[in-house]
């Protein structure tokens, strides 16, 4: 993908699309059968947008170091990466910290409303999955290293933000529509799920990370792998 093409993809993230209507009820009515079963509530685009601004504002207020010294930020799908001079306070924690209780694949896909894409690795598939509305994750074992795979739908997700200090190298990579590779010093990951759970802002230190956008899904891999190893794994996921 050329620089211009990457610029167009980036531009697409900032287009002013009209709020997407919820079509389920209207289509259901025209299928000739009504059901009493409760379905997912319609997406309230305006409410969500307001909620997102509230979250972003809340985080900025909560992290004065970051607020005072934001150098630049990048959007990629559902994820924002901000470069700061000083990282917000965070601790190193297990990869799946804060993502909720472990679930079966079926239960996680149901909660996330998203089917997870897995690489074709040797051995049995993962047994534990983690989910929030619009996000599904699992721990893979690749080259004897634990790797967290998270997949997010940009039109549903919450806030997923990474703060990178001067010691973290952030570079574009060619995968999917657009990709970013973060390595070097650990960076801080901060996220919050859904407008109804604004108070649950989580932070932790994160290691090497590859983020890429394919279709309307944002993929994220985290673990102690090299860029080449991570890209190899990523290409197996969105092959």
């Amino acid at each position: 993908m050329t620089e211009l093409e990457r610029a167009l993809v980036a531009l697409g993230q900032e287009l002013d699309f009209p709020p997407e209507p919820d079509l389920v009820a209207a289509v259901r009515a025209r299928l000739g059968e009504r059901r009493g079963l409760a379905f997912l509530p319609p997406r309230r685009a305006l409410a969500f947008a307001v909620a997102l601004i509230v979250v972003a504002f809340g985080i900025a207020m909560a992290v004065p170091q970051a607020r005072s010294a934001i150098l630049r930020f990048f959007h990629i799908g559902a994820v924002t990466v901000e470069r700061v001079e000083t990282l917000p306070r965070a601790q190193q924690q297990p990869l799946a910290t804060g993502l909720g209780p472990p679930l079966s694949r079926r239960a996680a896909e149901s909660r996330a409303q998203l089917g997870i894409r897995l690489p074709a690795l040797e051995g049995p598939p993962p047994k534990r999955y983690y989910a929030q509305p619009g996000l599904i994750a699992t721990l893979l074992h690749y080259r004897d290293e634990p790797v967290l795979l998270a997949e997010m739908r940009e039109d549903q997700v919450m806030l997923f933000k990474k703060f990178a200090g001067p010691g973290t190298d952030v570079q574009p990579v060619q995968i999917g529509l657009y990709g970013l590779w973060l390595e070097g010093e650990r960076h801080v990951l901060m996220w919050s799920f859904g407008p109804g759970e604004l108070h649950r802002i989580q932070t932790r230190l994160a290691g090497n990370v590859l983020i890429w956008l394919a279709g309307n899904t944002t993929y994220r891999l985290e673990g102690d792998l090299t860029k080449e190893q991570m890209l190899e794994l990523a290409r197996d996921i969105t092959r």
Partner: protein
């Protein structure tokens, strides 16, 4: 390319058997991309909503002809895009593509927000203006390919043209846009 909706092939099979609940899950999974695709073709929100809705209903009626094992998304988007094209031909006001109001300030930063150093605010405005000035057939290809994230095959399906045509239109459009971007 896209995270699969839940057990898509299973949902399609159940929908083919007349299970509306299964089809509603497919509608839920694809309504966002269907609406955006329709909007980029019709360039009118009301027309796009009608086109997406009619597209889903028509796809439901045509499910019996859907080939088992084929990808559902391009098939669906072709039907939706056809509805959108029909509405576009009917006239009415057509919106230009525009950027959202800047969100940098709401994140608490005073810094500019170029996308990975790719674009300054001025370049973004120039680029979106250049996209709007493209001939309609090139603008549609660029919009669907890069703004919605469809594959070349899906763009070809949506616009009802051969994949080679998508390639050539894309190349011509990128050549024009490069003049604005460089």
């Amino acid at each position: 390319m896209v995270g699969r909706p839940l057990d898509e092939s299973d949902l399609i099979q159940r929908a083919k058997r007349g299970e509306t609940h299964a089809y509603e899950e497919l509608v839920h999974a694809y309504q966002g991309i269907a609406f955006r695709t329709a909007y980029l073709i019709a360039r009118n929100a009301a027309d796009a909503e009608e086109a997406a809705q009619d597209g889903f209903v028509n796809a439901w009626r045509a499910l019996g002809r859907f080939r088992e094992g084929a990808p559902f998304r391009p098939w669906l988007l072709r039907i939706v895009a056809n509805e959108a094209r029909n509405r576009r031909r009917s006239g009415g006001r057509r919106a230009q593509l525009a950027l959202r109001a800047a969100t940098e300030e709401s994140s608490g930063g005073a810094a500019p927000s170029p996308e990975a150093t790719l674009l300054s605010a001025e370049q973004r405005e120039e680029l979106i203006a250049a996209v709007n000035e493209l001939p309609e057939e090139q603008r549609a290809v660029i919009s669907l390919r890069y703004f919605v994230g469809l594959s070349e095959h899906e763009v070809a399906e949506a616009l009802g043209v051969p994949q080679g045509t998508v390639k050539s239109r894309t190349a011509r459009a990128l050549e024009r846009l490069r003049e604005s971007y460089d």
